[in-house]
Every structure is written in structure tokens, then in C-alpha cells.
């Protein structure tokens, strides 16, 4: 079981100051099996076994490199939780994990969920704004798998899926963005309404409601039928670029009109992370959001900070991420007492103790 951080946190992609990552997911089902909800355990195991064989074929390896199947029931609860925190599996899979699995590429930028809501969910992540490459890679995985399986496909409707909302292309594009200024000035409300009208949806990456903690938001398409993949992609890409512009304008306005106030918040966040002895994931994420904003605005700190450090903390600050980092099982209270050390080590800061 891998401890490493996914490649899409590395902050090496386009527009990394505002876009954390881009993701494409394809939902596919296989003709010879019932939909997962109607499959027996035996059939699910059979599908898992067939995947295990496929990923070891030269044909597969030549195209997609070395990938590993992880059976979720062989993973510990913390390992499953960590996969969830890295957004590799769905929350559902924390409970319905028997006879499910994930096929993971070496750098975790590609993966295939097996026996989740659909038989196969092909996933491709890229750092920054890069839906096109994410789509190309997902499409490639799709092509390779199609050599081994007969997909459930309907001439008129397209790919058939468990949930009608995925029927058609079965594709979901998602972009994770850092939008602190639009969250502060209330601009997200209007953006959300505009996106909805065109078939897109914006959701907090952490927490529910309009003010997601850490100011991280995921924007994705809601519908997959009746439109070509590339059309959805281009349309979403254009929306994302609009939001980037709005966020940048909001940041400029914020720093123009309330410079001292916002810098005060940002420096205090730095002080908090440097000196706190108890830190919740939520508070940590909110501080990271402020530091990210300060970094983008050219603010200097006692220690230089990088987007990569800050991105890594998005995952590591979570309950399982923290426990994996320290290789130790901890109860919530103990985690809050250990989290400052994580932040201080990753950011290379740390005050008097």
C-alpha cells in the first residue's frame, strides 16, 4: 500500500496558483456482467480476477505501464480512508468495499475503480488546469480496456451506466480550484447559478454549504448525454478560465481595498501554523488557504513557501493522511495534537515548544 502523495498535488501544471488539479472519470460497464448492484460476490471476484490478469499482460503494460490492483477488503480502514482523502475512491466505498478494488498507476495519476457503482471507473488526474491531457490519458486507458472487454453500449444512448445521470459518454470532468477571494466577497453564489444553467456544478471539496473550508471547490459537468466529450471539455475549460479571471480580479480588489486587513489575516495564519500545539484539519486548511493566497500575491514569509508544500497538506492534513504520515493510528484528539508537527515539518517552520 502506497504512502506517497499523488502526482496531481505537485503544483507543476498550468494556472497552479488557482487550479489545484484536473480530473476525468469514465464510467464503463461490461456486457457479460449484471450491473454491480445485482452482481453476486462471486461474479465481482471474477471481474477483479480478470482485471488482475489484464494489468499483467504485455499489451496492457506497454500502453499504460505498471499498475497494481488493491483489493479494498485487504486494505486497513485507514488505508481505505486515505484513498478516499486522495479522491481515488468514493465515500460509498468506505462501507461497500467487499469485492471492490482499485487499479493504481505508479504515480497515482491514473486509476481504475472496480465494482463501484459501475464495473469500471477510469480515472485520470493532472496537476493544474489540464483537462485535455487528462482526457487523452483516460481515453487511452478506455481503449486499452476495450480490447479486453465488451462494454455495455447502446447505439442511441451511448454507454450504459448504473445511474441514469452517467448514461451517454459516461464522462465526468472535474477541476479543483482554490477560490478564497470569491468565497470572501460572495462572488461564488453568482458563479454557481451561472454554472448550473449550463449544466455544471460547483461543490466544496471539504465540507458542505457555500463556504467550503480551505476555500477549495470542485467544478464538474452534471450531464453526459447528447454532447460530445470534447464539447463538454471545451465548455468547462472556458468556464474555468472565466472563474480564474474573476478570482484574480477579486484578489486584486481585496488587496487594493483591504490590504492591511487581508495581510494581517495571512500573517496570522502563518503564526498560527508556526506556534499552535493543537490544530484541527479545518483550521489548518483555512490557514493553508490564506498562505496560498499570500504566496500568489507575492508576500514573503520568514520561510519560503511553495504551492507544492501547501497542496500536499491538503491531503496530509486529513485524518488518514496524518496517520499515514506519522505511521501511527491516532484518535481524533491525538491527531489534533500531532497535526501542528505535520504542518511545521512540511512547511519547514516551527516555533518554540
Amino acid at each position: 500500500m502506497t504512502n506517497k502523495l499523488p502526482n496531481w498535488l505537485n503544483a507543476k501544471g498550468h494556472q497552479n496558483d488557482i487550479v489545484i488539479s484536473s480530473r476525468v472519470r469514465l464510467a464503463r460497464n461490461i456486457d457479460e456482467y449484471m450491473f454491480p448492484r445485482n452482481m453476486t460476490r462471486l461474479e465481482k471476484e471474477k471481474l477483479l480476477e480478470s482485471l488482475k490478469d489484464i494489468i499483467e499482460t504485455p499489451e496492457f503494460n506497454q500502453e499504460l505501464g505498471k499498475m497494481t490492483l488493491i483489493r479494498l477488503e485487504e486494505a486497513t480502514p485507514i488505508e481505505r480512508q486515505y484513498l478516499l482523502e486522495k479522491h481515488l475512491i468514493s465515500p460509498d466505498m468506505l462501507e461497500k468495499y467487499p469485492s471492490t478494488g482499485i487499479v493504481l498507476g505508479l504515480d497515482e495519476s491514473i486509476s481504475i475503480l472496480v465494482n463501484e457503482e459501475d464495473h469500471l471507473r477510469i480515472q485520470s488526474f493532472f496537476s493544474g488546469l489540464n483537462l485535455e491531457d487528462a482526457y487523452i490519458i483516460a481515453d487511452k486507458i478506455d481503449d486499452v480496456l476495450e480490447k479486453f472487454y465488451q462494454y455495455s453500449y447502446h447505439e442511441q444512448y451511448g454507454y450504459l451506466t448504473s445511474c441514469p445521470s452517467n448514461v451517454g459518454t459516461g464522462i465526468r470532468f472535474s477541476v479543483m480550484m482554490h477560490l478564497p477571494a470569491l468565497a470572501m466577497n460572495g462572488g461564488l453564489e453568482k458563479i454557481s447559478q451561472g454554472l448550473k444553467k449550463e449544466g455544471f456544478v460547483i461543490r466544496g471539496f471539504f465540507g458542505e454549504g457555500s463556504k467550503a473550508y480551505g476555500d477549495l471547490y470542485q467544478i464538474s459537468n452534471q450531464f453526459t448525454i447528447g454532447v460530445k466529450e470534447t464539447e463538454i471539455m471545451l465548455s468547462l475549460n472556458s468556464k474555468i478560465n472565466d472563474i480564474i479571471e474573476l478570482e484574480k480580479e477579486s484578489r486584486s480588489k481585496l488587496f487594493l481595498e483591504q490590504e492591511l486587513h487581508i495581510k494581517d489575516m495571512i500573517f496570522r495564519a502563518y503564526g498560527n501554523l508556526k506556534y499552535a500545539l493543537i490544530l484541527s484539519a479545518k483550521e489548518g486548511m483555512n490557514d493553508i488557504s490564506l498562505l496560498r493566497l499570500g504566496l500568489e500575491r507575492g508576500m514573503k514569509f520568514d520561510q519560503d513557501l511553495s504551492y507544492q508544500q501547501l497542496n500536499n497538506l491538503i491531503v496530509l492534513a486529513q485524518p488518514a493522511g496524518l496517520q499515514k504520515y506519522f505511521a501511527k493510528t491516532m484518535e481524533p484528539e491525538e491527531r489534533d495534537g500531532k497535526r501542528p508537527q505535520l504542518f511545521q515539518e512540511i512547511l519547514k517552520i516551527g516555533g518554540n515548544k
Copy 2:
């Protein structure tokens, strides 16, 4: 007009970890004048003039050293406010300053208010717990002045004063204490009730209500009639020692039962003062209170802190103190933006700006 900080902040007295200062005040009136509220401006000026002459006599100087008369109407509003913040004049005098004055000793540990509620209010401050020396000095000033004036004195009642509550010895002992643990655990409520029964009163040094900001409290006697000065003094001294014990026990308990939580608060206060760009006097005082507590509990900070630095900030953090420190008139908002620099300079800390 002096810019310097009063000597009683120097943290060189007894029990300085918990007691900031001890103060004695004697209310005296002079037979040949009406009580101040009935005096004409001319009479008040006559009294001020007589004081001015007295403090220049060899007899006075030999006993009490060099003292200076400041006429409050010749001082600026900020200077009057600063005298109030140093607890040298009363809040009343900010408005009713015409023809009032204060005779100040070089280190501001002794002073005489003129034409306040009574003709003369002799004041003596000492650092730490030292009511006895404060009383000896006040008594000495009293003796010296009595050579020049005939006090209003009644065989049966004692010294006569404007307000009946001061009739008798005319003495008020006050001790300023730092009681963060008793403020946190609610112990002050019981202490307040106990003190009241024995004729003492506890008040927040800043702000009203039971939770004074900065956790600074003044304890003083309410009555001055029918008891000898030394009896009041010994009784108050014994109460103060009891409260010191209770505070220390509360601190030990706090650090035993909630060590991580309280240290987290204290280190965060340090981080706040180091990195904030906007700081209210109230927030600053609350952070100072936590650092004072940490210092007493042996906590180490990136920069060594001293009680004297922390005490000085009690006065300098206030509106006039801050403006005197920077020798600049500032509106409230500007002060909040300048206050972090004051704290960082006094404490010799200061983060990235």
C-alpha cells in the same frame, strides 16, 4: 511632560509574577479652602500656586526630592489621557481639568493630585506587593505637607473629605494583580464575595464586568473610617497573599489538567503578537496576559521575555501610551495598525512583513 514609564511597572518588587503593583492614596483637604466643588477658579489657582512654591522649598526637596507640578490644562489631551492610563489621575479629571494639577516625582512613584475631588490626593506606587513601603512613603509626603497646610480634621471622624466614603483615615490601599487562572476557572466570583464581606473590593483594571481584559484586577479597601491605617494594610496584605496562593494553585491545576490546551493558547498568543498587522489594545492585553502566565510557568519562547517588558506594554498598549511611544497623534484605526510594531519592538520579536 514626561514620556517615561512609571517605576511601578519595573517588575522588581515582591511577588512580581502575580502582583504588578501596590498603591496607597491619601485624601486630604485644607482648612482654609472650601471643598473643591465649592471653590472658585481663583481659589483653586491659589492652591496650585501654593503647591508650586512648596515643592521648591529646601525643606520639601530635602525630604521628597525634586518634584514637578503639571497643570492639566496646560497639558495636551493625549498627555492627560496618558496620565490616566498610568493611573496617576482619575477619569473625572479628563473632563474637569481646569485649575487641577499633579505634582509628580521623578520616577512617577510619588505624586500629589491637586484640586481633584479633594484638595490633595497623595499617591505612592510600588512595584510588586509592597503596601508597607508605599504607605511609609505616602505617610512621609503627608507629614511634609502638613508642615505647610492645616488639614481639615475632626477629632471624632478623622480627616474630612468631599466624599463621605473617604472620611476617617482618608486612605486607600490598592493592589494590582494578574489573575488569569482564577479568571479562567471562575474562582474570582467567590473571591469577590469573600472580599466584599471584609470591606474590600475587586475591580477589573481594564473594562467592566467579571472578565477584565488582560486579566488584571485591582483590589482595594472600601472603608477608611473606624480602623487604623496599618490594620487595613495588614488585613489587605493577608487577603492578597491568600489570592496569590489561590492563583498559583489554579495555575498548577490548569497546567496539570489541560497542559496542551493552555500551552497552545500561550504559544498562539506569541505567534499573534509576532505576526499580526492589526491589533486592538484588548487583544494585545489578552495576549500579554497569556505570555505572562507562560513566563511564570517556565515556558521558553523564541525570544526571552521579561515581566518588565510585559508590564510596560500594559501602559504602552493603551491609546495615549501608544501615541506617546511613537510621538504621533493617531486615530483609533491607525493605532490598531501601529500597535503590532509597538509590541514587536518592546518584546524584540517580529515576523515577516
